[in-house]
């Protein structure tokens, strides 16, 4: 099993990445271990905690539930890329000002989730956020 590898071409935060990876590797392990993008974290490993949230072709995805090979040809955005591009600067400032994080471990996932919610147009109600 461990020998089964594949070449992938993924655009990560706008940079082209060509790597030979194990077919079984999850996207989050690929981002962290191959590319050193450690802003995406691993919490529960089964898609319920959200710490590994990234954008794949603009869609919110749990990095622990997707294999890296499934992202071949896709564009992946992580917290590092979204931060550097300035896309969520105001959201980050609001999180900072309102102390919306404590240890900050899952905060990148919350920010990406919040950005997705806000990008759908109207201002969501407290109930909708919950």
């Amino acid at each position: 099993m461990g020998e089964r590898q594949r070449d992938v071409f993924i655009r990560v935060n706008g940079e082209e990445v060509r790597e030979r990876i194990e077919a079984r590797q999850t996207l989050v392990d690929f981002l962290r271990d191959h590319l050193g993008l450690t802003g995406t974290h691993i919490g529960c490993e089964q898609g319920v905690c959200g710490a590994c949230t990234v954008l794949v072709d603009g869609e919110v995805v749990r990095g622990c539930l997707v294999l890296a090979v499934q992202c071949d040809g896709a564009a992946v955005q992580t917290i590092e890329g979204i931060s550097d591009s300035g896309l969520i600067t105001d959201l980050q400032e609001a999180f900072h000002k309102r102390n919306a994080l404590q240890c900050g471990f899952c905060t990148p996932g919350m920010l990406i989730g919040a950005q997705d919610l806000l990008s759908r147009g109207s201002v969501p109600s407290r109930e909708a956020i919950r």
């Binding site: 461990g2 974290h41 529960c44 994080l101 900050g104």
Partner: protein, 798 residues
Amino acid sequence: MKIADDQPAGLTALDRPNSYIGRSVPRPNLARLTQGRGQYVSDVVLPRMGHVAFVRSPHAHARIRRIDTEQAKKSPGAIAVVTGAELAKVITPWVGVLTHLKGIKSAPQHAIAVERACWQGEAVCAVVARTRAQAEDACALVEVDYDVLPSVTDAETALDPRTPVIHPELGDNLTFERTLNAGDPDKGFAAADAVVEATFVFGRHTGVTNEPRAIVADWNPGEQRLTVYQGTQAPHMTQNLFAKHLGLAEHQVRVLTKDVGGSFGIKVHIYADEMATVALAKLLKRPVKFVADRLESFVTDIHARDHRVKARIGVKKDGAITAFEIDDLTGIGPYSVYPRTSGIEANQVVNLVGGPYTCPNYRARARVVFQNKNVMCQYRAVGHPIATAVTEGLVELAAVKIGMDPAEIRRRNLLPDDAYPAVSAAGLKFEALSHHASLEKILKMMDYKALRAEQEHLRGRGIHRGIGFASFIEVTNPSAAFYGVGGARISSQDGATLKLDATGAVICQSGVTEQGQGTESVLAQIVATSFGVPIERVRVITGDTDNTPYGGGTWASRAAGIGGEAAWQAGKALRANVLAAAASILQADPSKLDIRGGLVVDADSGRERMGLDEVARVVYFRPDTLPPGFQAEFMTTRHYVPRAFPFAFTNGVQASYLEVDVRTGQIKLLKHWCVEDCGTVINPQLVDEQIRGGIVQGIGGCLFEHCLYDEAGQMLNANMMDYLVPMAAEMPDIEIGHVVTPTKDSELGAKGAGEAGTAGAPGCVMNAINDALRPLGAAPITQMPITPERVMTALGRT
């Protein structure tokens, strides 16, 4: 309290110009965490680093007959396959006992099991490989031949003569027993008009840090030094333990703690797999990394709260409580956890029951027993949620029995606000508490009368809402009485070192640690205030045993109260030293100068005299211009430990308003209030968020969280899908109020605030549920978590 003599009369030492004390300053170290630029231990990568994975026992109790590692050693990427017996040559076992818990006993525990595994999840073999995936591949090839042994899982029968003894050399399965007899409980119960009895059961649950435990250990044979990156709350404590069990001097070990993804008391202990990781690094002479996966976290992170408490209360018709009695039983797994022991939670329950009240008659027994389940130990608010739920549950049941309002029965029994210093029935010493002020404040915040009227009105329409209260006390700022007197090398004192840099900024190195609660921000606020610079010019460094004063770290709500006071005093000392240099340069009287807003000013007029950058420039680069014999000291260190009281007790009260759906048993939390007295509030926002977070964890234990085990000792829900943690969707808005009674033990006057929320929430929510169900004839629910199924059972509708 010693008022600093450089302040005008009428103000306290905290009233410095431009003070940051009491201000909700945003945390300076936060932006990088919102950008994914934190440095958690799970992110650390070192050259030549190997990854360890553990083969773990699938059985709750089994003899290890043989371990075949041949195939695993040939697995791709494998570096080493190491059994417990092999690792025992590198690291010595430990026994989790302390001398002040009289009679506590435990058996030697190894980094990796030798001969016998005593719970499902105990490591029996380690594999180090180039990647974690390869290490796990190789683990699957390790063949372990087990003899399955009978497992002891039920605490109730652990002491029966027919039950097997887990550690035969100890004679029985009793870890620790404590009894207490205060006042005259028999007389108290005899004098009561009513006696109410109940059995309270608390589900075993855990802390669920979103970043699992993580450690990278790097042994450098050339330097003969071990560098350990560890997500821990107590770096100096783990430095001592690694050195002791590897046979090294303490200075040969450096522990670095960077960002920690949640702790809650889970990361204040030493774990066998962490000991194994440092030993493997030493054995293999290269860095080794261990990050627990979620399954490993559930079966090896300490669990807590698995207590059964039979309790009763005596009460007179006028509401006077005449006696409390409890019998607590708890099962703590097969070993008492090192180095704090697993006797502390039961000990705290005995200490804290009845604590807010004047009643002097109290009898208690607590027994702690071994069992073949994962270990239990101290988790946020150790013992408090149990003691508070038992006490407050009894008080509200007693109020119902005599037909008195639950607020009124508290008014008649809480320690009066002018009765201090006071000693509780269990012997706890209170410097100054504010139970009555807190109660009156919360009643006002919640508009109690109107809320009762609303409840009554809605009941008529078939909507069942409940109101519950919980008054509580909380142990904070522990002195050496907690661990040091029992022989544990866990520092109760803490220190802060301040250095003025060459541009007039201040570097603060502190022995307390940051895990997200805002320790570093609070320290920065304190230093900025006591020294006199804008907060942007303070940089705080924590979590490095090579570069911080010796200290205990952050637990038991001690960072602000103890680490903060050390920083406060260090700031004053540095101010005095810098003013001495400035006075020398300015040919002025140092007592007529002050530092404000980063400038040396005339103390009387506030007129600017010179910038700190200029003082630093002269001292560092042109000391030749200073008078002969004058030596500036721009680095100061101060330490602090509470001495007047063993603990700085805080107090408070919580209230819950909720609705029960009597058709489904679902509980909807509508609102939660907490009034808390943690003394001086340094950063109101951080204090409030600590209390809110604590309440959420308390609610988790009350309604959702439960480590479910079957009779064979198998954990059934060791994942975050099946183990329910409280989520934003279920949480109510939580309103926080404060009463401020500073401790006079320190100049800062701050007590702890980290655990008050967790202490009070379970009892208060339980009381609210019973308040909602009582008119329907339901039996009181006293077993947590209070699931919909238990609600339906109480209603007789299953």
